[in-house]
């Protein structure tokens, strides 16, 4: 039964991701390659880049009002179902030779990189007034605008952008490197996840065989750190011990702790 459910879930998720790519893809692209601010996506109301979707539509406000609601309902589901960067990471993870699955010190410590990135972003945004580190190309041709942005950016902007690009590119070697260890939005939603109402989680039939962890591109188990509620684990479980729904508080507390 779970096999049948899973077969339907993957194409549905890809369809949702495709739709979200259409909605958020251009904004994500601008955020990475053309946003002049230290922290992209949070200062759109002040941004002079005319053609960015975050500014010309109500996407900016809509996104930041909707994201906490999604977080409270479904934890990091945005990462698994809606984020264009998450989609790239997931697809690259399919060919990544190193899955980074395990329980070593690295696997315990590295996920905290997300919180470090989140704290850095919050400090830059709230305490340093989100400085502009690049010359905004207000309007321009696709390639030319990127070239000009890189050409006239401050070193800090280049470091920021090249760091993100390096993590995303390294995702072709190491499964979901950006999403698991460095994404500040992922770090933020990970905090919401602790009180999320719905999630994929193991039932009492779970015998901790960790087959689900081996099957997961994020290298985790359902409802644990870095789980994005993608549902890929469900069909991998040999005991049908993974279900979606409300997590019992006691059970959830144990799992999330």
């Amino acid at each position: 039964m779970s096999e049948k459910k899973n077969n339907r879930l993957v194409p549905i998720r890809r369809a949702v991701q495709g739709g979200m790519l259409l909605l958020l893809g251009q904004w994500s692209f601008y955020g990475l390659f053309r946003c002049p601010f230290a922290v992209p996506f949070v200062s759109c109301q002040n941004c002079p880049v005319i053609t960015c979707w975050g500014r010309v539509t109500s996407l900016f406000w809509g996104f930041w009002l909707t994201l906490p609601i999604i977080g409270l309902l479904f934890g990091r589901a945005f990462c698994g179902w809606g984020c264009p960067g998450g989609l790239i990471s997931q697809l690259s993870a399919k060919i990544a030779p190193f899955k980074l699955v395990g329980k070593t010190l690295f696997h315990r410590v590295a996920p905290y990189g997300k919180y470090l990135a989140l704290l850095t972003a919050l400090a830059l945004w709230l305490f340093l007034n989100n400085p502009r580190w690049a010359i905004p190309i207000r309007i321009g041709e696709f390639i030319n605008s990127i070239r000009l942005t890189f050409e006239h950016a401050e070193t800090a902007w280049l470091v920021r952008t090249l760091t993100v690009l390096s993590f995303i590119t390294a995702g072709f070697l190491f499964s979901n490197l950006w999403c698991r260890f460095a994404c500040p939005t992922g770090g933020l939603l990970e905090l919401f996840k602790r009180t999320a109402l719905f999630s994929f989680h193991p039932t009492e039939q779970c015998n901790d065989c960790d087959v689900c962890q081996d099957a997961c591109d994020m290298g985790t188990r359902p409802a644990e750190s870095n789980c994005t509620n993608c549902g890929d684990c469900q069909s991998a479980c040999p005991r049908n011990a993974i279900q979606f729904g409300r997590l019992k508080r006691k059970q959830g507390k144990n799992l999330l702790d």
Binding site: Q45, N46, C47, P48, I50, R55, N129, P131, R132, I135, P136, I137, R138, I139, G140, E141, N144, S145, L148, E151, H152
Partner: protein, 265 residues
């Protein structure tokens, strides 16, 4: 009809239909150029590939290896440099920026003159770290009117972005700011502040002028010239006036052309 507007011949421009022209300009002119480009494209069938960004950055690129066919920049010296470096064929005065005071709707602090920025308790919004037209030029105006120190002491926001000035006034964080009039015409901010004009005597020294010129890299110099002629025609200049600039070919613009010496070398 502007005092010295150049007549533009639509039939002549239609000879270039189907071609593409690359235009770069100072980012502050982007809204005006977008309007003008749309009219030009509709009337001629020519496609304008337009980039608007900080003029100093674009100028630096052009003085190095960057290429465009028409360039409209801020600061007379930049146009002169491009001419001296043999990158630009000619330039003409395009328009002038002008500065105004803005307050939240209803002007709660009762601002009437620039001297009010020095009044105790008035919340002033400044962007000293913004690019020179929004930062240094405004500080120069305050210095010229003898209120710089008091206005800085009254500053509740000292930012690095002129657009942030607008939001700080609109949301009531500040009582008053001095900005380029063009900012009050940007769609996001239009009609959301009170605008108090400043007399000519309080306007800052240059950089007030914008110029437009044909570059050496123009693939079809006649097309580039035609575009410049259109921008300097009544229709083209009206777009710049709508966006808060003084058209170079208006009577006031012509005065400024003479006063500031905005002429090709």
């Amino acid at each position: 009809m502007l005092a010295s507007a150049i007549p533009w011949n639509r039939a002549n421009a239609q000879n270039f239909a189907g071609q593409t022209l690359q235009v770069w300009s100072c980012g502050g002119l982007a809204e005006a150029f977008m309007q003008a480009n749309q009219i030009y494209e509709e009337k001629t069938g020519i496609t304008i590939s337009y980039t608007g960004a900080f003029a100093a950055a674009l100028g630096k690129s052009l003085l190095a290896n960057g290429q465009t066919e028409v360039f409209a920049g801020r600061v007379l010296k930049l146009a002169q440099k491009l001419r001296s470096a043999d990158k630009m064929v000619f330039f003409k005065p395009l328009c002038f920026t002008q500065y105004v005071m803005i307050t939240p709707k209803g002007n709660p602090a009762g601002i009437t003159t620039i001297k009010d920025l020095a009044r105790p308790g008035v919340k002033v919004v400044l962007a000293p770290d913004a690019s020179p037209p929004g930062g240094a030029a405004v500080l120069k105006m305050l210095e010229k009117t003898g209120v710089k120190e008091a206005a800085l002491a009254n500053a509740v926001v000292k930012g690095s972005c002129v657009q942030q000035i607008m939001t700080s006034i609109i949301d009531g964080t500040g009582d008053v700011a001095v900005v380029e009039k063009r900012l009050t015409r940007i769609p996001n901010f239009k009609g959301q502040t009170e605008i108090i004009p400043l007399p000519d005597s309080q306007q800052p020294p240059p950089p007030l002028p914008f110029t437009i010129g044909v570059m050496k890299d123009a693939q079809d110099p006649e097309l580039a010239r035609d575009y410049v002629t259109f921008i300097l025609s009544d229709q083209g200049q009206a777009c710049f006036e709508r966006q808060g600039f003084i058209p170079a070919l208006s009577a006031k613009g012509q005065e400024l052309v003479e006063k500031l010496g905005v002429k090709d070398v």
